[in-house]
Subunit: 457 residues, 2 copies
Amino acid sequence: MAGLALRVPDWLRQRAAVTPERRALVCGAQAWSFAELDRRVDAAAASLDVREGERVGIRAANSLGFVVAVQALMRRGGVLVPINTRLTDAEVAWQVEDAQVSRVVGDDDLEALLRQPTPAHQTRARDFELHAWHSIVYTSGTTGRPKGAILTYGNHWWSAVASALNLGLLADDTWLACLPLFHVGGLAILLRGVIYGMAVVVQSRFEAAEVNRAIDEQGVTIVSVVSTMLERMLAERGPRAYPPSLRCVLLGGGPAPLPLLERAAAAGVPVVQTYGLTETASQVVTLAPEDALRKLGSAGKPLMGSEIRVGSDGEIEVRGPSVSPGYVNHPPRDGWLHTGDLGRLDDDGYLYVLDRRDDLIVSGGENVYPAEVEAALLAHPAVSEAGVIGVPDAEWGRRVTAVVVVRAGVTATADELIAFCRQRLAAYKAPRHIEFRSALPRNGAGKLLRRELRIER
Amino acid sequence: MAGLALRVPDWLRQRAAVTPERRALVCGAQAWSFAELDRRVDAAAASLDVREGERVGIRAANSLGFVVAVQALMRRGGVLVPINTRLTDAEVAWQVEDAQVSRVVGDDDLEALLRQPTPAHQTRARDFELHAWHSIVYTSGTTGRPKGAILTYGNHWWSAVASALNLGLLADDTWLACLPLFHVGGLAILLRGVIYGMAVVVQSRFEAAEVNRAIDEQGVTIVSVVSTMLERMLAERGPRAYPPSLRCVLLGGGPAPLPLLERAAAAGVPVVQTYGLTETASQVVTLAPEDALRKLGSAGKPLMGSEIRVGSDGEIEVRGPSVSPGYVNHPPRDGWLHTGDLGRLDDDGYLYVLDRRDDLIVSGGENVYPAEVEAALLAHPAVSEAGVIGVPDAEWGRRVTAVVVVRAGVTATADELIAFCRQRLAAYKAPRHIEFRSALPRNGAGKLLRRELRIER
């Protein structure tokens, strides 16, 4: 019965029963079937002393051990707390305290998990209750303390199913995880793998050449990336076309610069834009493949089961079965999730994500969306990265200010770039000041951290 | 949140928003997009005076109007009670009383529904609560009074999703409904259509030549059939191969004769066997496509989310999110559904459906499964249909007895067929008596009605 306290069999175990010989996981030189993955997870689960509901942190790079640990925690009923490897010890300590994590598993522990002897007999797998907590994932929140978003088994299940109902599901689908598994965008791929009976290729970190090689040689049909990754993939690739087996480059992680989208479209790269949050267990609004070119720049429409609206203040709000029931140590949320992102819906109901609300620059009473200004800068052939913030200004409230990375072997002056923006943007949107850097601060998923842009004058 | 009282947006409305231009429905010379179907359903819903929870019968042949009525009832919150068109008025009256049906809609009413003026503005669609009743479908139960199985929105949703997770979902998928829409096997196709954003071709009734034509000319990729339909399709087709676009012939409705499966396999027809019941909102155990040949004759493994077991009495039991919460006017069921079907699991856990428990013949203390004997008879080149029952016998309890239809232009004697069976079966299983007929009694879905086989001696 769909409804109260719905229980379903362990996803991996069912896959190991139904499609045991199918390819489940590829990482480096290793390739495991679902039967093999299930055996490894059984071994790991047997070695873990974890109570049901116990919260266990994983602070590690992408690896086979990470995948096995995620599944073993599910089999034992533990709650996964993935921890960003870029955090300082003090930041980790705060999350561990906040989420009442009993222990944190690191790279060495994960290695050891893989060396556990396989049990002689398959263990009986626990059923999953769809309303039970699967994980607590801290949002990379750009203001204040991070918050631990609770994600249930049902949230992940609905997210996976709704993605398949949008993108389709092919017999040879293979999804590449080059995003960190400690981010929801990476973690979601692992769960889709066992729910779909689909191969997942895990790479230890993003490396453009490795991604391109996996697409050519490992049958990757779908890859999840953010804009900077796509940018680097295209640069590394050069003029050589991608094989037709690559059917979807799922592009998330914030508004994508239009020039990048246009370049990808011209090169025949099947980019599908998406919008998602930790609190929605990854993508929740995604372009249908048939709209990829017609609605270039839009994140699309809500996935089946979900709804969006834009409030009078321009904030995107989301409701649906993949939306987190709340944050740990906060009162449960009900109804619409206020995303903190600004967006607009066009006349056909397609979502265009404009910016983080916290990053909105109000200058002389006008709203300036940094992403729009960054997109204008990125359209200049000399600019490879751009970040825009508002700097306090006595006269205007905030002054639009940009930090720019210029391509190797090219030069550009601040005046030239400002003039370039003025041709494309209303004057109040164009930066007043531009600073040049060799790199911009980004989080583990490659998302620009505007808060960390310090402007020196 | 997945769990308590989960609500999701109207499936058709969401499809009309996300993929408005995709082909939704083909019936005769008509082809509608999702936007068009949504407009027609809005018009029909506006004209229907139906309260939320009101039970409305549909007693009609497959048609555009049937599809529109099903969706319009969903939009108004009515509960659909599909009625088998082969029932007598007295039988219908009994179901109408049992299910407290307020009115029964017939072919003419459905025609009229299509002539409603389209509203100037799209109406606001009701959300679906997944635990709410979607339909009451009477089982073709071979013993006693039929029972009205309650199917929730969630039952249908999970059934559709689990089918896609097994068969995959392609951008050009088109599912042919030649089964009656008043049976769960036909109705389920309509719901998959709006959940997947997939085209459904509806035919008014099964006609082998029409099915073969739709496969050739209308891009049908999947078709749901029962054995007798497949038999007739192959006969009508002759040696001409099916196009590669036909990727799945989903074969349900009871144990399939192995000779038919072998013939289909030899002809390269992509048959996928399945087992399902009204109470499971259609298929619940289905072969994975990769096992279709390796496990010929098996119905496969449970779809994602569902579980099966075989009790000590040989009865198949099912549990999962697509299983009906109970029958109308009966206490709610909890836990495992006892199917009344007999089966066995092989060493790899694949289900082989043996027979209806009610049809089991106990002869001289030995169990004889009619389906097994029928399969032996069907392996004889002269036999096109066979039904086997137990006739009361003073000495043996029951005596195995067969009714057979012989192919046109061929002859066969009873002695010859009995001898043929003895070469293939234990002696106690071979029929003692054979009667020849021109046709066998079948229900609307083509399922053999053994109870109606009367043997004249």
